[in-house]
């Protein structure tokens, strides 16, 4: 059983190209928080699905960014930085 878990951890960390301790802890936290939220919202399944979808989306974005070639990322570093600032501002003013 333990070797299979180890294989799964290795597969997930290699999939994201990130530090395996961090990625696994993040995954556990996120999934745990989904359940906490599900419990806190009186077992609202639509909320669970909605947040679950956002979570999956965020991990897909994480996967893409982590696997982008650093030289390509460097080439769009400035516009990406401005975009991320705008997103932060959006969180403050729009949400």
């Amino acid at each position: 059983m333990i070797p299979k878990i180890k294989q799964l951890i290795h597969f997930i960390s290699s999939l994201f190209g990130l530090d395996k301790t961090i990625i696994i802890t993040l995954l556990i936290l996120c999934i745990g928080n989904l359940f906490i939220q599900y419990s806190a919202t009186d077992k609202d399944i639509s909320k669970l699905i909605n947040d679950g979808a956002y979570l999956v989306l965020s991990f897909v974005v994480l996967f893409i960014v982590a696997n982008l070639n650093i030289t390509h990322l460097k080439a769009i570093a400035t516009p990406l930085y401005i975009f991320s600032i705008l997103l932060l501002l959006g969180v403050i003013f729009l949400v």
């Binding site: 530090d19 301790t21 961090i22 802890t25 993040l26 556990i28 936290l29 745990g32 928080n33 906490i36 650093i70 030289t71 460097k74 080439a75 769009i76 570093a77 400035t78």
Partner: protein
């Protein structure tokens, strides 16, 4: 229940965050330097500047290797877009072979952004002019000059200095084990052979590194640091170019080797192995045709006969046998033995004969036995000593062991022993036991034993030095760029436990070789004292009535040896000459020794010193010369040569 679930959830969340903080802390604090470097790499690029490779000079300061300017075209990987576009543009002005394109693509694949990748090297002046005029059509391609190794003496030093060539993955792997692989680029040169390989770290120098700051698109925007390249040191060798050229010339078209040593310090004065090859062919990769020619040449030009190949020493082995017998107290210098022209092992009717002196020399002592090269005397001596004692004495002269010379892949030769034979013929119950006849044949330098010309020269230098063994070497000193001395070679020596009087006796005996023995042909008109010993090593066994017809070709002719030193009282030079399938040692090798001695001691011109040539004759049964002294051997000996 609810409360306990909340507590468990809190513990889980806090625990997960503590784990995250610890991990971040570990990565950012413990692995600080690694990630800092990665971060620097993200906004910087390294431009490497190559050091100029150190050169070799001979003992008189003459350059034996040069660094010449070579023009090339290359491109930085960061500027590279499409190879076909670049090739098609360049091919309007310069010919690019399929090999050039393949090499370029290989190098490009393994190079960093700012490592200039060469597209074509060794451009002619016309090509440089044309490419420069049209450079606007391919601005990403650089036309530049760089230094490149050149061997001005072609094959003369091919087996001593060796050559450099483009670095391979296996070279990088080997260098990486010493932690020096960062000192090389993918399109770099590295010593592949000979002294170029042995002194690689000294000659190489240190690569320069300019770290530049780049923007997000890779353009240079500033300089972070600049470490200049440190050029390699110049290596002064003990070789004497004049003597080397003469030795090479005297060997002519023969296959063979010559090693000359300065007995005072062990410095190699000449080191020739023929045939050789042109090391310039290897620098940028030898073409297939030339490689096939070298590889398939039956004369084996790639084989270093001086230190990497060993041969039966023939009668040049006798002085060492004599000293062994004197040292172990088996015989006195002037004890006489009756030589009837043959020797029989007690209880056996088989006769080991001196075929060229069938009547024998009568009563004979060791000095005369050396001078006339009596086989019978040494057959008997070897039989009485036995192989264990022979090993004990002969090994003192370094025979059968590597001399430790500063050149790679030295052959240790073979000093046979009972243990060796048992291992060698482990599967053959008849062959594996050491027989008295084996000792008898070893005693005259035949049978199983074989040594390199370098080992024979080294062993002779021990006699010349009255028992002081000085390790042979090529290195004289290491010089800085300004010519000042960086390091001197430290002589390594030890003294043999054999009494000096025994060496003095053997030197006199070897002098008699020149004055009245097998080497008297080269003693004519000598203006200095010379001591030596000839040797004729049989390649195939003989049968009664002469050689078998199938061994009639030159390939089966005897090997000719001559070892010598001069002047006898205060030797300045020791020479070992080996002519493969050359015939008689006193006829094929001795004249070479005399000319080299004249050149080195008298400074005489080769042609002027040729006056003794008329006295050189091939020994035959009618002469006292008994140099073809191994013709009684019945053991096939061609397997001892490698």
């Amino acid at each position: 229940m609810n409360k306990s679930r909340i507590t468990a959830t809190n513990i889980f969340v806090i625990g997960a965050f503590i784990l995250l903080v610890c991990r971040y802390g570990y990565l950012q604090l413990a692995n600080y330097s690694q990630f800092l470097q990665q971060s620097i790499n993200n906004y910087s690029s390294t431009v490497s500047t190559l050091p100029t490779r150190g050169t070799f000079i001979d003992r008189n300061g003459l350059s034996l290797t040069n660094n010449i300017i070579s023009y090339a075209i290359g491109i930085l990987p960061k500027d590279y877009k499409n190879s076909e576009d670049i090739f098609s543009t360049l091919e309007k002005y310069v010919t690019l072979s399929a090999l050039d394109k393949k090499k370029f693509n290989n190098l490009l694949h393994n190079s960093k952004n700012y490592d200039l990748v060469i597209i074509k090297d060794d451009l002619s002046d016309k090509e440089v002019a044309t490419l420069t005029a049209h450079n606007y059509e391919f601005p990403e391609v650089s036309i530049f000059a760089r230094t490149k190794r050149y061997y001005p003496f072609d094959e003369l030093y091919s087996h001593s200095i060796g050559y450099v060539s483009r670095i391979s993955n296996s070279d990088l792997g080997k260098i990486g084990k010493n932690g020096n692989n960062l000192n090389y680029l993918r399109n770099d040169y590295v010593g592949k052979n000979g002294l170029e390989e042995y002194y690689e770290s000294t000659l190489r120098g240190t690569i320069g590194k300019k770290i530049i700051q780049t923007d997000a698109t890779g353009n240079e925007i500033g300089l972070i640091s600049n470490t200049h390249a440190i050029d390699g040191a110049t290596i002064s060798l003990t070789l004497d170019n004049g003597l080397q050229k003469l030795a090479n010339q005297l060997l002519g078209t023969n296959q063979g080797a010559i090693v000359a040593i300065d007995p005072h310090n062990g410095g190699i004065l000449a080191f020739v192995s023929k045939p050789g090859y042109n090391p310039n062919w290897f620098i940028d990769g030898i073409n297939t045709d030339d490689w096939s020619d070298l590889r398939d040449d039956p004369r084996k030009p790639l084989l270093n006969r001086a230190s990497q190949s060993s041969f039966p020493p023939g009668s040049t082995f006798k002085p060492f046998m004599g000293l062994t017998a004197l040292y172990l107290g088996y015989i006195k210098p002037y004890t006489e033995i009756y030589d009837p022209g043959y020797f029989s092992i007690p209880g056996s009717t088989h006769r080991f004969r001196d075929l060229l002196k069938l009547s024998g020399f009568g009563n004979i002592n060791m000095a005369r036995a050396i001078a006339v090269s009596s086989d019978t005397y040494f057959f008997r001596l070897a039989y009485e000593l036995g192989i264990d004692n022979i090993d004990k004495g002969i090994s003192l002269f370094g025979l059968g062991k590597k001399t430790g010379i500063d050149i790679p892949n030295e052959n240790s030769g073979l000093l046979p022993s009972k243990e060796w034979k048992e291992r060698r013929f482990a599967k053959d119950k008849y062959q594996k036991n050491w027989l008295p006849a084996d000792s008898v044949t070893v005693g005259i330098g035949q049978g199983f034993n074989h040594y390199t010309p370098l080992q024979m020269a080294y062993a002779t230098s021990i006699i010349a030095n009255d028992g002081i063994a000085i390790k042979p070497h090529f290195l004289n000193k290491i010089l800085n760029k300004d010519g000042s001395i960086k390091a001197n070679y430290t002589i390594e020596s030890h003294t043999l436990p054999i009494p000096k009087s025994d060496f003095e006796f053997m030197k006199k005996a070897m002098q008699m070789v020149i004055t009245q023995g097998t080497g008297k042909g080269i003693g004519y008109g000598l203006k200095y004292t010379l001591a030596g010993k000839s040797g004729t090593a049989q390649v195939v066994s003989s049968v009664k009535g002469g050689r078998q017809q199938k061994f009639a070709g030159k390939r089966y002719k005897d090997h000719a040896w001559f070892i010598a030193f001069a002047p006898v009282d205060k030797p300045k030079i020791v020479i070992a000459v080996f002519v493969e399938n050359g015939g008689f040692g006193s006829a094929a090798s001795a004249p070479i020794v005399r000319k080299m001695m004249d050149y080195y001691i008298l400074g005489a011109n080769v042609t002027e010193s040729a006056s003794f040539k008329k006295n050189i004759t091939t020994p035959d049964a009618s002469e006292t010369s008994n140099d073809a002294d191994n013709s009684s051997i019945e053991e096939p000996s061609d397997d001892t040569e490698n």
